[in-house]
């Protein structure tokens, strides 16, 4: 049994007060979470519950106030070099064409331009963008840009995928298409995935396990659910099965109060 891909141990993140007189803000408190090698885990929770904070900690972009991060048994310091991070917001370089964006990581690693171009072309094909490599980003739709972002990360073959509501801004049809494609790519070469979303249906339909976070501040996991639905899955069809609905009801039971709490806090702020 190899070491788990990610072990978060007693992670707390407190941010200094943004202005004089305001209180320091604790985004997450005492979070412990283990992701096995090859496991697809979704983290769901109401808005502002520190989901992204956890992801940034795992990526090494943010140093937690307390607690440690182990990546495949090694203590993380600095950036997590084994992880690919798909951001919620647009993160591609707009001054580069699609293929230049996909090539970027290889270029940074000093791979021969000809070879990286070939591999990028292959990956563009794999995410369904064959022949669109020379387009600039503003010439591509939102869904296409997400595909470019996915190819940009997967071409580097990271062992861990960190995804922060990657498909949140897409329309429902494009979104389900992308979810299925991600699942297909993932099952071809199983990586560990931490998938952040506030969409419970998305979380259940894709994951092996769903972790529910409490409302912020100082949020922490309040429930974990194994999803024993068979794979391969179709994210649109699986939502109609009775098993899915049963799991959904069970998780929603745990989440409902937290969502209401989070909503009220949001209203007050």
């Amino acid at each position: 049994m190899s070491a788990p891909a990610v072990v978060l141990r007693d992670i707390s993140c407190t941010f200094p007060p943004s202005s004089r007189g305001s209180q320091p803000y604790t985004a997450v408190r005492d979070v412990s979470l283990t992701i096995a090698d090859g496991e697809f885990v979704s983290v769901v929770g109401p808005t502002g519950c520190g989901k992204s904070t956890l992801l940034n900690v795992t990526a090494g972009l943010l140093t937690p106030s307390t607690g440690t991060v182990d990546i495949f048994g090694e203590k993380l310091s600095g950036l997590n070099r084994r992880a690919g991070y798909m951001f919620q917001a647009e993160a591609l370089m707009p001054w580069r064409t699609a293929i230049q964006n996909v090539m970027a990581g290889l270029e940074m690693r000093g791979v021969e331009p000809v070879e990286s171009r070939n591999r990028a072309t292959e990956w563009l094909g794999r995410v369904g963008l064959r022949g669109r490599g020379d387009a600039y980003l503003h010439q591509l739709s939102g869904g296409m840009r997400k595909r470019v972002a996915l190819a940009q990360i997967l071409i580097l073959e990271p062992q861990i995928l960190l995804m922060d509501e990657p498909f949140g801004a897409l329309d429902v049809q494009t979104r389900q298409l992308m979810e299925n494609e991600l699942l297909a790519l993932w099952s071809a070469n199983r990586k560990s995935v931490i998938f952040i979303t506030h969409d419970l249906e998305e979380a259940i339909s894709m994951s092996d396990r769903v972790v529910v976070m409490s409302a912020g501040p100082a949020s922490r996991p309040i429930g974990e659910f194994s999803i024993d639905l068979p794979r391969p899955r179709d994210v649109a069809e699986i939502r109609l099965t009775p098993e899915f609905l049963k799991i959904h009801a069970a998780i929603w039971e745990t989440m409902r109060d937290e969502v209401l709490k989070g909503y009220q806090q949001h209203e007050r702020a």
Binding site: L61, E90, L92, M93, M108
Partner: protein, 258 residues
């Protein structure tokens, strides 16, 4: 979109532009011929263009033009390069920029033209005092734009490049510089004009060559037509340089949606 659709085609637009030019020249001509505007103060278009023609056909303007253009180019490229380097450097060093920011703001708010006599003392009355004056103006224009450009880099794009494995140097080359280019070009259009200002003002204040010198000389003998001829010649060249900047901008910022 709709405003663009209703625009007349380019050839017709150019005809209108030409007509506008002819009409304004014609009214200038008529107003000064009928003495409604005294020709002594306002010049006469035919004489102005006659003067320009004489300068260029006899070739007497070329040494002056060459020196002014050289001063302008040196100031433009020198100031841009220095502004770029300083802007990138300070933009990436929060402590240094916090330390220097009040001084930079003070220097920038200082009317730079008052430095002309100092530069004349330091660098003499030749080429370099004008270049120094031009650089002192262009530098700050470009510097502040690059500085803002670097600080306004999209943090998500930056974090993404870091996660992809970019080294510090690669971040500079792949993220900071291209991101700042938009801001740089916005400042370069102003910088072209300002480089000319530095050169010509420098020449006014003491020189034996250059378009500024030519204008000053003509003013000394109340030859308003030659003054205006110099002004128009300078304007044409400044406009030409600005078109070159626009061309470079179109090529380098091709990635932007129009």
């Amino acid at each position: 979109m709709s405003a663009r659709d209703t625009l007349p085609p380019l050839w017709r637009l150019n005809v209108y532009r030409l007509l506008l030019f002819v009409a304004s020249m014609l009214s200038w001509h008529v107003l000064t011929q009928t003495k409604i505007l005294p020709p002594f103060f306002f010049g006469e278009p035919l004489r102005v263009f006659g003067q320009i023609w004489k300068w260029f056909s006899s070739g007497s303007i070329y040494p002056h033009l060459a020196i002014t253009l050289l001063e302008t180019m040196l100031a433009f490229f020198g100031g841009t390069l220095l502004g770029l380097i300083a802007g990138l450097w300070l933009g990436l060093k929060p402590t240094a920029s916090a330390l220097l920011s009040p001084y930079l703001k003070a220097l920038n708010s200082m009317p730079r033209l008052i430095l002309a006599p100092i530069f004349a003392v330091w660098f003499g009355l030749g080429l370099w005092s004008k270049v120094a004056l031009g650089i002192s103006i262009v530098f700050f224009l470009v510097f502040f734009n690059v500085y803002h450009g670097v600080r306004e880099v999209n943090p998500v794009v930056l974090a993404n490049a870091r996660m992809l494995g970019a080294s510090k140097r690669q971040l500079l080359r792949m993220v900071y510089v291209p991101s700042a280019m938009t801001w740089v070009f916005a400042s370069l259009h102003n910088a072209v004009g300002m480089a000319f200002v530095g050169a010509v003002i420098g020449e006014y204040l003491g020189s034996v060559k250059g378009i500024g010198y030519l204008i000053l000389e003509a003013e000394g003998i109340f030859d308003i037509n030659a003054v205006l001829g110099g002004v128009i010649t300078l304007t044409m060249f400044a406009y030409g340089l600005d078109m070159i900047v626009t061309w470079a901008e179109r090529r380098l910022l091709r990635w932007q949606p129009n």
